[in-house]
């Protein structure tokens, strides 16, 4: 039951924050921090206590019995890392929005409505319930971006929501096909029952792409990724942290849990196509990132590239690769959120610009921040010792096992490109000299990081480092659950 607290607390937090007067923004941020921290604490407790690989059922109740819908919640080793990353990003999102004053009450109301929806998706074991939570997470994103965002926020917010909704429409159609095609008596949306259902092969082959693409749009799959960079860039820092850190994982989680989990034969038929798209994601994202002048767009496209590894891991359909995919969701959730926080708040609030060619030797002017960013960039690049290295390694080993050599070679090229754009952009941002005639303040030093910023950086970087050094902390939870899923695969 305790894990349900994450959902309940988030929605209560949304209500409480929304009802407080916006002038009380100092009090609101403490309430928000407390709510987010409570969610993190609950997920950590669940994560520590979990072992085995079976589902832990939290609450199983009738909801709309006449349509076979139940309120069934629970988690397993696949959802746990995602619960954890949601908790981490939620806390740090509050920390990096510490100075927010305008409409703070409404900001946190939408913020926690989004987070409650995300927790709900990861804890749902009923397909309908999962979809409901997935949709609950859509609308707050619109308001978070449209109200508190930066340039072109209306456009970006609308684009993001329409893409999300388009994906949901595909999922809903596939979901109904699954329900009526399951042949179960009585018909049900219960995921556990559906996992045991005997879906015919032609159903699997038709429905798998519907559901997979529907969810993968949210995961930033090429060619439906274009919402991601514009959305990430226009969003306020906390929202882009959530988008990159958590919302894209919702899509990937749906692909894994629903599309692959329920339709293994369909997944086997489509795996090579998914792998091709995943490699395009990796390479294309990295190439575009290399060409960007706006620092936040660089991170936005690097997210697209890194999500390619998640999709590639899922496409391997073997234990190693899929473990890598889940680990990569965690890893990119933490590191992506950190990079957005650094670029969107820590650096931008000081320089007031994100254009790389307007930055002049930041390494001298904000040395502490610069070094933190360099470490974070290296972590994102896949430096050994950080979680990104482990997860990408798992994915590549998995890909060797089951996919063609060309795919692996493509992904390898993507990694080289990642090295390339990370180093180039770090150089442009921190080490490059700009002609001093343009900037009369070029020599002034910027203030160091504030306490909330330091805390947030420490939490996210610490998590990436911890999992990088002791990956078994998560893989021991992930692998048994994936093994159970793979046992149901037809040979």
């Amino acid at each position: 039951m305790t894990a349900l607290l994450t959902i309940i607390l988030s929605f209560i937090g949304a209500l409480v924050c929304g009802l407080m007067p916006s002038s009380a923004h100092r009090r609101i941020r403490w309430v928000a921090l407390a709510v987010a921290a409570a969610g993190l604490a609950v997920s950590m407790v669940c994560c520590v206590k979990y072992s085995g690989g079976e589902f832990v059922i939290l609450l199983e109740a009738d909801w709309i019995p006449s349509l076979g819908i139940g309120f069934i919640t629970g988690y397993d080793g696949i959802s746990l890392p995602l619960l954890l990353v949601t908790g981490l990003v939620a806390v740090c999102g509050v920390l990096f929005s510490w100075t927010l004053e305008t409409r703070a009450n409404q900001f946190y109301a939408f913020y926690f409505a989004l987070i409650g929806g995300v927790y709900g998706v990861f804890l749902s074991l009923d397909l309908f319930l999962l979809f409901v939570f997935y949709e609950i997470a859509v609308v707050p994103k619109y308001f978070l971006i449209a109200i508190w965002g930066g340039a072109r926020r209306q456009f970006a917010a609308m684009k993001l929501v329409l893409y999300s909704f388009g994906g949901s429409a595909l999922v809903l159609l596939g979901m109904l096909a699954l329900y009526f095609g399951s042949g179960l008596t009585p018909l049900t949306f219960d995921l556990r029952e559906l996992m045991g259902a005997n879906f015919s092969r032609d159903l699997q082959v038709v429905v798998f792409p519907l559901i997979f693409v529907g969810f993968a749009i949210m995961a930033g799959m090429w060619p439906f990724h274009t919402w991601a960079p514009t959305g990430h860039v226009a969003a306020p820092t906390a929202a882009s942290m959530l988008l990159a850190g958590v919302v894209m994982k919702l899509g990937a989680y749906g692909c894994l849990r629903v599309a692959v989990g329920l339709l293994p034969a369909g997944a086997q038929d489509w795996a090579s196509w998914v792998a091709v798209v995943a490699v395009i994601n990796i390479v294309y994202g990295a190439l575009v990132a290399l060409k960007q002048d706006d620092f936040k767009y660089v991170i936005g496209y690097s997210s697209v590239s890194h999500m390619g590894f998640v999709l590639l891991g899922i496409a391997t359909l073997n234990l190693t690769g899929m473990t890598g995919a889940v680990l990569q969701m965690f890893s990119h959730g933490v590191i992506g959120a950190l990079l957005f926080a650094l670029v969107g708040t820590v650096i931008y609030s000081r320089t007031k610009t994100r254009m790389l060619d307007e930055l002049h030797r930041l390494i001298d002017r904000m040395p502490g921040i610069a070094w933190v960013f360099i470490v974070a960039g290296l972590a994102s690049m896949g430096l050994p010792g950080f979680s990104g290295f482990v997860s990408e390694l798992y994915v590549l080993i998995g890909a060797w096992g089951s996919l063609s050599g060309w795919i692996v070679a493509g992904a390898g090229a993507g990694i080289l490109l990642t090295f390339g754009y990370t180093l180039v952009k770090i150089h442009e941002a921190f080490f490059r000299e700009r002609s001093p005639a343009v900037d009369n303040q070029a020599e002034t030093a910027y203030p160091p990081m504030t306490l909330p910023e330091k805390t947030g950086v420490a939490i996210l970087l610490g998590a990436a480092l911890l999992i990088g050094l002791c990956p078994w902390l998560l893989t021991d939870k992930i692998s048994p659950s994936l093994k159970l899923m793979l046992e149901r695969f037809p040979n």
Binding site: R103, V132, V139, A169, L173, F180
Partner: protein, 489 residues
């Protein structure tokens, strides 16, 4: 016939009729020459008392503590739990319209305004409970005539008169089609009693009858291509009246459509499905694409109503018990949200003195945060976002349409294409719904805001609160209402 029992059965309606005459009588005699505000207050109180009393009796009848005649001769009345529930909900919503009408004191003909509102409500109550072709038609005309008259109540506005004339002429033609269709149905079956008709087999005469009926009811439901009146009427009728046109009369028409289609057998069904599906597709396209270009909020809601009527037919096409329940459930939750949205608009714009554009609502989050929050709930429900009732309603419609495949058929035989089309169209609809919400919740307050709301008043406030809570509650916990509606009749 047991007249005492008949009297008890019709007690809710009698109470409303008494209130209607009381409102007229008091206004004409004692309150002659009183202030307008006073007359509105008294008429409101009398009408509300009548509807509350009627509602109380209805609740007792549903709970079976008061005796009810289950049915009368010729199917004139068919009072099961599901039809009584529908009638009670109509009374409750009618009660919700009253405070809005009281606020917006648009006409000096006070008691006529309230009497017409009560008459329309009364008529809707009869439409949903009648299973007799003539009885239902007469009741539906009672509704329509009251609504025509109310549309023109704002005598200061030329546009209002024009809209009412359009409504009347279109409506009269549509009623003609409906009556023509009903007469063919009678001619083919020799029955006026819908409960006695079963298993109507395919015959050209019956297909023609139903096509004519679709034209007539399509007008009432604002289905494209019979929707041309809707944008003008929604925009120019007094806002509470537009709200009642967009909710109560839709419920009545949808319930009648379902009742008329119940006796259809599978051979006739196959002939009717293409027509219904075409109407559904056309309405979704016209409504959703039309709404994209609107700058006037009430006009936008009219196009949204057209689109929603299209979704509704997706459930009708299923021709199944689940489909019928889903249609009634959907039209109910749609009406709650639509009435709520019109209510917010009515409360916000009655001091504006002109048609409200969407931009006029800029910054409502600051000036009237409560109303903006309520509007968020209503519009998100119209857009079909969970956990609100509108989502569940839409889901149930699609569910029924896909379930419609016969037992032995394989998984891909449901109306997937129609559902897919409706889903695409709901994605489109999100664009204009969000555009409206952007004005209410996103835009800065100083950006051309023209709205300075007067005091909301407790009655309108309570109405909007109850509507918003109902939309949330029916989304979270629909089972009790679904069970009541499902009760076989």
């Amino acid at each position: 016939m047991d007249y005492q029992q008949l009297l008890l059965t019709l007690l809710p309606d009698l109470l409303v009729v008494v209130a209607l005459f009381a409102a007229l009588g008091v206004d004409y005699s004692r309150l002659r020459g009183s202030r307008l505000a006073k007359r509105y207050e008294v008429a409101f109180q009398i009408s509300a008392a009548g509807l509350i009393a009627g509602l109380a009796v209805l609740v007792l009848q549903i709970a079976e503590t008061m005796p009810v005649m289950e049915s009368t001769a010729d199917g004139q009345l068919e009072l099961t739990r599901s039809t009584l529930t529908l009638k009670a909900l109509l009374y409750a919503m009618g009660l919700g319209v009253l405070p809005l009408a009281k606020r917006d004191q648009i006409t000096p003909q006070v008691s006529e305004y309230f009497a017409l509102l009560l008459l329309a409500t009364l008529g809707m109550g009869f439409v949903v409970t009648s299973r007799n072709l003539l009885g239902a038609f007469v009741a539906l005309e009672l509704v329509s005539l009251s609504l025509y008259a109310m549309t023109v109540l704002n005598q200061a506005s030329r546009a209002s008169a024009e809209a009412a004339l359009k409504y009347l002429t279109f409506g009269a033609v549509a009623s003609g089609f409906l009556l023509f269709g009903l007469s063919y149905l009678y001619g083919a079956t020799g029955q006026l009693d819908l409960t006695q008709m079963t298993g109507l087999k395919y015959s050209p005469m019956l297909v023609l009858a139903y096509l004519l009926i679709f034209v007539g009811l399509g007008f009432k439901l604002a289905l494209a291509p019979f929707h041309l009146w809707a944008p003008d009427v929604y925009q120019n009728a007094p806002t509470p009246v537009a709200g009642w046109i967009g909710s109560g009369s839709k419920i009545a028409a949808a319930a009648l459509l379902i009742a008329l289609l119940k006796p259809v057998s599978s051979t006739l069904k196959d002939a009717l499905i293409p027509a219904l599906a075409a109407l559904a597709v056309l309405s979704m396209v016209v409504g959703n694409l039309g709404a994209l270009r609107q700058t006037n909020l009430k006009r936008l809601l009219a196009y949204s109503a057209i689109a929603n009527a299209g979704y509704l037919l997706v459930g009708v096409v299923a021709f199944s018990a689940a489909g019928n329940t889903s249609v009634i459930f959907y039209i109910l939750v749609y009406s709650l949200a639509s009435l709520g949205a019109f209510g917010v608009v009515a409360v916000l714009t009655d001091t504006l003195g002109r048609d409200a554009e969407i931009n006029d609502f800029n910054g409502c989050w600051k000036t009237t945060p409560g109303l903006a929050a309520a509007f968020l709930v209503f519009v998100l429900s119209l857009a079909g976002i969970p956990p609100l009732a509108g989502f569940l309603g839409k889901f149930y419609l699609f569910f029924a349409a896909i379930e419609a495949a016969p037992e032995a058929a394989s998984w891909h035989d449901g109306f997937y294409w129609l559902v897919a089309f409706a889903l695409i169209m709901s994605v489109v609809s999100l664009y204009y719904y969000l555009r409206v919400l952007k004005a209410f919740l996103v835009a800065p307050a100083d950006d051309g805001a023209a709205i300075t709301p007067s005091k909301i008043g407790w009655a309108a406030g309570v109405t909007l609160c109850v509507l918003a809570l109902a939309v949330v509650a029916l989304g979270l916990w629909p089972e009790p209402l679904l069970a009541l509606l499902k009760n076989p009749s």
